[in-house]
């Protein structure tokens, strides 16, 4: 099955209905809310959402209110892929019996980085292996922000969190981010991609493609958190864009096993002088303050840069 990414123009997207309403209680400047709005702009048929426990779930559905204008289900933290599997199976079986009449229905599972890299990983891997037809969206803000900024498998190197604090001996998290997108791609599912709310046309196209694919699809979205990453809330989108410009979060898709760079990252591949140093990103966020004060830790910045460079080079090789 050939998979094409739809080509959207920003102007056309303005007319798209949005199924995530205002009035939710996400923090000012939270990129998860921006991400959620953009995701729903891709909807063009009956759609259901399953949400793992996390900021997006908690802040969008405080009883008796819900920000969701499509059917939405929350069960627990570590099982969103399993719950989505059950819904997909139910629709299939009831469709066969004639007791489900809405026809083809899109299913999205939202999980944060904790719910995906860590506690929900087994359920995700199982659902991918079984081949359920759904789109899993990882919105990654680099720590357990909902529970109080604890480190996760998605927390980047050196970041100070409440369980990997920058102390006088240990300078923040001393492991690197788990390569989740590659791990998911290794399941040989038809569609895997990364996206960022700083590039809405690209994000919405990938959501649409992921939903249209038969079988499992996975989308890794960088969604900054100004509270946990410690920066000015007005900079949310600017900083997630910087994550792409520094190649910390490159944009690409893996379609039927074939890696292809998306335009913002392709531009950097075409002209490496456009690749910004990671320091430009690190210096803006309080979670790396100890890299710069009281003394500048060039050694740590170099370790960070080396890891990102290696990952970027690996990605370039795969996309050739």
């Amino acid at each position: 099955m050939s998979i094409e990414l739809p080509k959207y123009k920003l102007k056309d997207l303005l007319d798209k209905p949005i199924f995530f309403s205002g009035g939710h209680r996400l923090c000012a400047g939270c990129a998860a809310g921006t991400m959620a709005r953009q995701v729903t702009m891709a909807f063009d048929k009956p759609t259901m959402i399953v949400n793992a426990t996390g900021c997006l779930e908690v802040a969008s559905t405080i009883y008796p209110f819900s920000a969701w204008e499509v059917p939405w289900l929350h069960v627990a933290f570590e099982n969103v892929a399993a719950v989505a599997s059950g819904i997909e199976a139910a629709i299939k079986a009831m469709g066969r019996k004639g007791t489900y009449k809405e026809g083809e229905t899109d299913i999205i599972a939202f999980g944060g980085d904790g719910g995906t890299y860590d506690i929900g990983f087994q359920a995700l891997s199982g659902a991918l292996e079984r081949g359920h037809d759904f789109l899993y969206i990882l919105y990654d803000n680099g720590a357990y922000m909902n529970t109080g900024i604890q480190r996760s498998g998605g927390t980047p190197f050196g970041a100070s969190t409440t369980t990997s604090p920058a102390g006088s001996v240990i300078p923040g998290k001393h492991q690197f981010r788990k390569p989740i997108t590659d791990i998911v791609a290794a399941h040989r599912i038809p569609f895997v991609a990364t996206a960022s709310p700083a590039y809405p046309e690209d994000l919405i196209a990938k959501v649409r493609a992921g939903l249209d694919v038969r079988g499992p699809a996975f989308l890794h979205i960088e969604a900054s958190c100004n509270r946990g990453q410690r920066f000015d809330p007005s900079k949310s989108i600017e900083y997630v864009r910087l994550a792409t410009e520094t190649c910390i979060h490159p944009l690409y898709a893996v379609i039927n096993g074939k890696y292809q760079l998306s335009r913002p990252s392709q531009r950097i591949a075409d002209d490496p002088s456009k690749k910004l140093p990671v320091e430009d990103y690190l210096k803006l966020e309080g979670r790396w303050r100890h890299f710069f004060k009281p003394t500048k830790r060039t050694d740590l910045i170099e370790i960070f840069q080396k890891d990102i460079d290696e990952r970027w080079e690996e990605l370039l090789k795969k996309t050739k």
Binding site: P46, T47, M48, V50, E57, V58, T61, I62, Y63, P64, S66, W68, E69, V70, P71, W72, L73, H74, V75, A76, E78, N79, A81, A82, V83, A84, S85, G86, I87, A89, A90, I91, K92, A93, M94, R96, K97, T99, Y100, E102, T105, Q122, A123, S125, G126, E129, R130
Partner: protein, 391 residues
């Protein structure tokens, strides 16, 4: 009626086949039972229309069941012991999400140490979860309970999941003759396929599983409490309907030889079979002894127990479960609570038997009876005692 000879596992699988659920999600944790293996044969041979989701853990099994049931599907699963422990978080959410899942539990001992043999403590831990909880004495009951559980759970006044217990090995692996219920009979009894009024519906978007802060949480939990209360009436109606259609009469609390009984065994599950035989033998010696059997453990029909205890001098509770540091066995605590303040207060002897599958023979019931009666005759209660324990 044609009888077939089947294990308890097969009896349950045959019942699930008759119901033809939309979704079965299950995982073979140690200890696994053969229920879903048999069911997988039915799927492979096209004898059911079910989507069989072979999840990667028991936690995901119950999660997939909640997802499927929330989408309006009729859902079945089975598990036991360690599997129940792993899915415990979602067991509670299944009840509060009001998903009428039916789960057969081949009751088995909990680790550690790892054991895999028969014991009911696994399902007794559902006590506070909101699930309706049934226990079968034999394979016919396991078969029947599996079908009628859907009717109880899916009733609009109830909408709760139902656990159907059958003793591990003693029933699950033992062959008995049963009268199977056919697909047509099962669906006629259930009134056709499940019709869920509130579900994930793209024509009427609904959010399920919202955050309830202190201002609403108690009200949400009270809805589960009220559904449990309402289920009492539904259970009686469903049992009565079952008797009309299939001729097998079930009560939440069963009795045997209780009319003139001065003493009684009170138990659940397959132990009731041994108790009946022991009672028959004791009766030939002139002992006025009967049996009270709990079929429906949650909701607990305490007043039915009290009525049966009115003329008793002594009550002997025998349970295949235990609670460390508690004021008696898990079941006997419920019995004592039910009796308190009613003016009905027989002396009590409490026994825990057969943990981890240890055999308790008919002759053991004789000895337990004589030991209890001796104490009763001197006006004494006997505190919880682990029968057959080497000390």
């Amino acid at each position: 009626m044609v009888k077939i000879a089947v294990t308890g596992d097969d009896a349950v699988a045959q019942a699930a086949k008759a119901v033809n659920p939309d979704v079965v999600a299950a995982y073979p944790i140690t200890p696994q039972t053969i229920i879903v293996e048999r069911f997988a044969d039915f799927v492979a041979d096209g004898e059911v229309d079910t989507e069989f989701v072979t999840v990667e853990s028991e936690h995901s099994a119950m999660s997939a069941c909640v997802g499927a049931s929330s989408a309006g599907a009729r859902v079945f699963t089975s598990s036991a012991s360690a599997g129940i422990m792993l899915m415990y978080e979602i067991v509670f959410i299944a009840a509060s999400s009001r998903t009428p899942i039916v789960m057969a539990i081949a009751n088995r001992a909990i680790s550690g140490p790892i054991n895999i043999h028969g014991e009911e403590t696994d399902q007794m831990l559902f006590r506070d979860s909101g699930w309706i909880s049934l226990f079968a004495e034999d394979n016919q009951e396991a078969h029947d309970h599996t079908i009628l559980a859907f009717k109880i759970g899916e009733h609009p006044d109830v909408l709760l999941p139902v656990a159907v217990g059958l003793d591990g090995f003693i029933l699950s692996h033992a062959i008995e003759g049963i009268e199977p219920v056919s697909r047509q009979e099962a669906l006629d009894f259930l009134g056709g396929e499940r019709v869920a009024k509130l579900k994930l519906d793209t024509t009427k978007p609904l959010s399920i599983g919202l955050l309830h802060l202190p201002d609403y949480y108690m009200e949400a939990r009270a809805q589960v409490r009220d559904a449990q209360e309402r289920s009492r009436k539904v259970i009686l109606e469903v049992f009565s309907e079952w008797e009309k259609r299939f001729g097998r009469k079930y009560n939440p609390v069963e009795s045997y030889m209780m009319e003139d009984a001065e003493y009684a065994f009170l138990t659940m599950g397959s132990s009731a079979g041994n108790a009946r035989t022991a009672i028959d033998e004791l009766r030939t010696k002139g002992e006025k002894v009967g049996l009270i059997k709990i079929r429906v453990y949650r909701p607990f029909f305490g007043e039915h127990v009290v009525n049966l205890c009115k003329n008793l001098k002594g009550l002997i509770t025998i349970e295949r479960s235990h609670s460390f540091g508690g004021p008696g066995g898990i079941l006997s605590q419920d019995i004592k609570s039910a009796l308190y303040g009613t003016g009905v207060s027989p002396l009590m002897a409490e026994y825990t038997i057969g943990l981890g599958g240890r055999d308790t023979l008919i002759r053991d019931y004789h000895i337990m009876y004589n030991r209890a009666k001796e104490a009763f005759n001197t006006g004494k209660n006997l505190p919880i005692y682990w029968w057959g324990l080497r000390e």
